[in-house]
């Protein structure tokens, strides 16, 4: 049986070139066994077009760099097998994030801004002692922290969200989930009122319309639906008590 010929249509645009215009460019290549889109893109860059820009680091769905719109859906290129796709594939960069060029976007600046705005670090007045043993934590709490902490910040949830697409300041599922991680952490001494100040608004939990594209798009299945609802309920109660 001969291998399929793939037609890969890629969004091409370099915003740094003053005369460049957005366009779609088609590449044809032969499908290989076990081929991921990450492999296909590297093959295109090595054999067909060295100017093609896209991001990747780990190839193992850990770094979150290679997220892109694959036939309209936000997915990780390294985790997407070409055999699960039709032979005509359309690739676009993630929306919302700043375009670097072609399929490459700058998620870093967006997430850095998110960390600063949500103060995504453990707030404590406890003096750090590098010699002391870490405080013990029960397994249930540790798992409750670990679940949202699994987020690889690939940006798929943000890209899939209509609200994030039309409201620049909305922190998206990644942001709300990030804050949820600190809410369950006993080491973080912030009060509910302080958390309310951070996410109890339209840019945070109350800006979510509940379309759940985030939950359906997360490549590592962080339970965003329940995380978002939990934060919303918690913040509503906190707000009413203020």
């Amino acid at each position: 049986m001969s291998n399929r010929q793939l037609k890969i249509s890629v969004f091409r645009y370099n915003p740094n070139l003053p005369d460049d215009k957005p366009r779609m460019q088609e590449y044809q290549l032969e499908e290989q066994q076990g081929m991921t889109l990450f492999v296909a893109l590297n093959k295109i860059r090595e054999e067909l077009d060295p100017s093609l820009m896209f991001d990747f680091v780990c190839r193992a769905a850990i770094c979150g760099s290679c997220a892109m719109m694959i036939n309209g859906k936000p997915r990780l290129a390294c985790k997407t097998l070409t055999k699960d796709l039709p032979s005509e594939i359309t690739l676009m960069p993630l929306p919302v994030f700043k375009l670097v060029g072609d399929l490459a976007v700058d998620t870093g600046t967006w997430f850095r801004d998110l960390q600063v705005r949500t103060e995504a670090w453990v707030h404590t007045d406890k003096e750090f002692d590098s010699q002391a043993l870490e405080d013990r934590m029960d397994n249930e709490t540790a798992l409750a922290i670990y679940e949202p902490e699994r987020c690889i910040e690939c940006g798929c949830c943000v890209a899939s969200c209509v609200t994030a697409n039309i409201r620049e300041d909305f922190i998206g599922a990644a942001g709300i989930n990030r804050v949820a991680r600190f809410m369950v952490d006993p080491r973080d001494k912030r009060s509910d009122a302080q958390y309310f100040e951070v996410v109890g608004n339209e840019d945070g939990t109350f800006g979510c319309v509940g379309l759940m594209a985030c939950d359906d798009s997360c490549p590592i299945q962080v339970p965003l639906e329940s995380q978002l609802a939990w934060v919303r309920r918690k913040m509503a109660l906190a707000g009413l008590k203020l």
Binding site: M69, G72, K73, P74, M92, P95, V116, R117, E119, S160, V162, N165, I166, F196, E197, V198, G200, N201, E202, F206, G207, C208, V209, G210, L211, M212, A213, D216, S217, E225, S226, L228, A229, W230, R232, R233, M235, A236, G239, L240, L242
Partner: protein, 218 residues
């Protein structure tokens, strides 16, 4: 939290609970309107058991002052809901373009359902207002008057309003359940609400059929 960078942001921060109240108002008015709509449709559905029962119920609405309190309350809740839920819709042209393009691109069911919620909202605002006006104008409600109205060209008006209303109510309640986590699984919530919606639409269509039949015989 980062400090407010503009006057407007600083002033918004001065009332930090506004967004919470508006969000709660959206859910509260939404749930109230769904409850009203479903009860309303069950009341209208009494026509399936005959004109006498329908008229008896319509009379009791007046007799026990249910209409006097209920109608103004529903109108106020309706207006508040337009205001607080309407803020979610993409009103700027560029937002509409982005929403439409995005919904087409990601081909995601729940996102399309929401686009449908925005469209049905517009239908309900216009047709619901006409409906309230035309019923109030001929107050009190009787089976004969309703039958005449349905028979005099309002049939398709009501079919469309029924479908738009029940779609918006069913998926609106689904959305509230999902956002607040009222039901643990959104597939279950969707399934339950679809069954209820289909039942209510069936009652509505049955009632319209009866009105059309009575209207033709008048």
């Amino acid at each position: 939290m980062e400090s407010a960078k503009t006057l407007q942001k600083a002033l918004i921060r001065a009332n930090p609970k506004t967004d919470l109240y508006v969000d709660l108002a959206e859910a509260a008015t939404g749930i109230s309107l769904v409850a009203f709509l479903w009860i309303h449709m069950l009341f209208v559905g009494t026509i399936l058991f005959g004109k006498q029962i329908f008229d008896l119920l319509a009379e009791s609405l007046d007799k026990y002052y249910l209409a006097h309190i209920g109608i103004p309350a529903v109108i106020v809740i309706f207006l508040v809901h337009i205001f607080v839920a309407g803020r979610r819709a993409p009103w700027r042209l560029s937002d509409m373009q982005t929403t439409w393009r995005h919904a087409r691109m990601i081909a995601h069911t729940d996102t399309w359902i929401w686009v449908g919620q925005v469209v049905t909202a517009l239908i309900i605002v216009i047709m619901g207002s006409i409906h309230v006006w035309s019923v109030m104008y001929e107050w009190p409600i009787t089976a004969a008057k309703s039958a005449l109205r349905v028979d005099s060209g309002y049939l398709w008006f009501y079919v469309l309003l029924l479908l738009a209303g029940e779609y918006h109510a069913g998926f609106g309640l689904y959305r509230i359940c999902v956002k607040w986590g009222l039901i643990s699984n959104r597939r279950t919530a969707g399934w339950v609400l679809k069954v209820i919606t289909v039942a209510i639409v069936a009652i509505g269509l049955g009632a319209l059929y009866m009105f059309k039949k009575f209207g033709g015989a008048l």
